[in-house]
């Protein structure tokens, strides 16, 4: 079977990042998964073991002093060298900010073909077929790379699967810092750990709040309902722009695309750009004062009412059930 090179993002503390599981599962469907990591200190033994659990048959661990201090290029250098060494049948990366930049640069350098924002992959007659979900899930498109190395970025949270475990072979490599004018990282502040709440991407339940929530303090109501349902918290762009919540919670056209089992929209009008990020949800519930709000056009259950009246009652009823 041919090798599939998978870039694994590590957390600041050197742990295997959340995207690894789905990426390695996708790779295992296409061939033999080789996990590539780039870090400033040698990869921890437990990270190697974790990658094995997630299906990596080989771990190619690159150390480079420059990884924390220089954006993108150390990773692109490492990917370029690994592509030359393994001649893989495909390269898989997460569709994160870092993954996208690395994929784009690698495609130019290595002459590959980009398949971007992919939600699923399959091998068919020796060809790798990528599935894209376009315009808020309105269209499903299958595409292939004609004649070149497919470089695939996978939408975060899209593949919820785990490959069979393997006992990985570890291969270590060192890499010099890239020369020339580079983008420097001066400082880093990690995103706040969102307690026990699930990640927005891939969550089974998402509760989102919009401008109708009215203030940052009121947004606690959205969080309380999310917690009562064990769900993640989302928001409309208007709520993010108004500073009620961090932009990482934005659902929609220019935010995160979610497709949970249950999506609850609170005080969200349902502008087309918001719907683009959530209309593939299995079940949609909306609470809005305005009977004519467009969100009701896609809601399985719509409640015309005041969120400040209805939501506290719902939270109370949920509490009483358990």
């Amino acid at each position: 079977m041919s090798d599939i090179l998978v870039h694994i993002e590590l957390t600041r503390s050197g742990h295997v990042g959340a995207a690894a599981r789905g990426l390695l599962a996708a790779a295992a469907r296409l061939g033999t998964p080789i996990a590539l990591t780039v870090s400033d200190v040698p990869l921890a033994t437990e990270a190697v073991a974790r990658l094995g659990e997630l299906g990596a048959v080989r771990v190619h661990a690159v150390t480079s002093d420059a990884t924390q201090a220089i954006l993108a290029t150390p990773l692109v250098d490492a990917l370029g060298a690994a592509v030359a060494a393994y001649a893989p049948a495909a390269v898989l990366l997460s569709g994160s900010a870092d993954g996208r930049e690395a994929a784009g640069r690698l495609a130019v350098r290595a002459g590959g073909v980009l398949l971007a924002d992919v939600v699923d992959v399959a091998a068919h007659d020796g060809q790798i077929i990528a599935e894209h979900s376009v315009f808020g899930g309105s269209f499903t498109v299958h595409a292939v790379a004609d004649g070149g190395l497919p470089i695939i970025t996978v939408r975060q949270g899209a593949i919820d699967e785990q490959a069979p475990a393997a006992i990985p072979e570890l291969l270590k490599a060192d890499m010099p810092a890239p020369p020339g004018n580079q983008a420097a990282v001066l400082s880093f502040s990690p995103a706040p750990e969102t307690s026990a709440r699930p990640e927005l991407r891939g969550a089974a339940t998402v509760v989102s709040g919009g401008r109708g929530i009215g203030s940052e303090a009121n947004f606690a109501l959205v969080e309380q309902l999310a917690d009562a349902l064990g769900g993640a918290v989302g928001a409309s762009r208007a709520a993010v722009d108004a500073g009620y919540i961090a932009q990482t919670a934005q659902v929609g056209q220019t935010g995160v695309t979610v497709a949970p089992q249950l999506y609850i929209a609170l005080g969200i009008s349902g502008a087309i750009q918001h719907r683009a990020g959530m209309q593939s949800s299995k079940t949609i519930v909306a609470i809005n004062q305005d009977e004519d709000a467009p969100i009701f056009e896609v809601a399985d259950l719509g409640i015309v009412g005041d969120v400040f009246t209805v939501v506290p009652q719902v939270i109370e009823l949920l509490k009483n059930r358990t």
């Binding site: 790379a145 990282v185 009652q313």
Partner: protein, 252 residues
Amino acid sequence: MKIAVLIKQVPDTWEERRIDAATGLLDRAANDPVVDEITERALELALTVKDRDKSTEIVVVTMGPGEATKAVRKALSMGADSGIHILDDSLAGADLLLTASNLAAALRDIGADLFIAGNESTDGRAGMVPAMVAEHLGLPMLGSLVSAEIGSGKASGERQTEAGSQMVEAALPAMLTITERFPEARFPNFKGIMGAKRKPVATVPARGATPASRSRVLDVTERPPRSAGRKLIDDGSAAAGLVDFLAAQRLI
């Protein structure tokens, strides 16, 4: 300082957008074309530099069909000084590689100190073209910025990623990509609209190397539209109705 801003014409997100099932390409006839909002914000960033220092020269660059000239004209009416429109039938349906190689070819010789683009477009959403252009031109890139400071010899800003935020910096020339957290663009005024007519727009053919390989669409399927379900007007019992609904759907 000379700033090149990459702008893109996209179908208006306020309408349903369509893909032509036969070609696998965007159905351009289905929507009004507009300048992608994020690229307008990118231009706004360049214009704020020019507001401070009138000697700043702003070139807007786009690749697209004939009607994309309108996007360039709009940018000129907002305050850009000149435009480059890459227009070539051979580029219809261009994939990321072909797009990036042609943008890079047009940008290579204009001698810009700074290149500004949106972090992703609302139609493609790949979010890779600026990085690819940067790679072609050998530039460092400060991507996914939520704020930026532009000095004479360097640019810096805050970069937002899934993992957190970074303060980043690069010596010029460099590529910046901005997110929609940047301020909205100004509107063209009457003087700007009149003045735009006299500003130069160079229409240039494809000059980028054609990559040996490309992506190809196999098939397109459209999802049936969603329909509205039940609607309850809250008379005090809607909360109970909601909880019953969730229980019946086995969602709680």
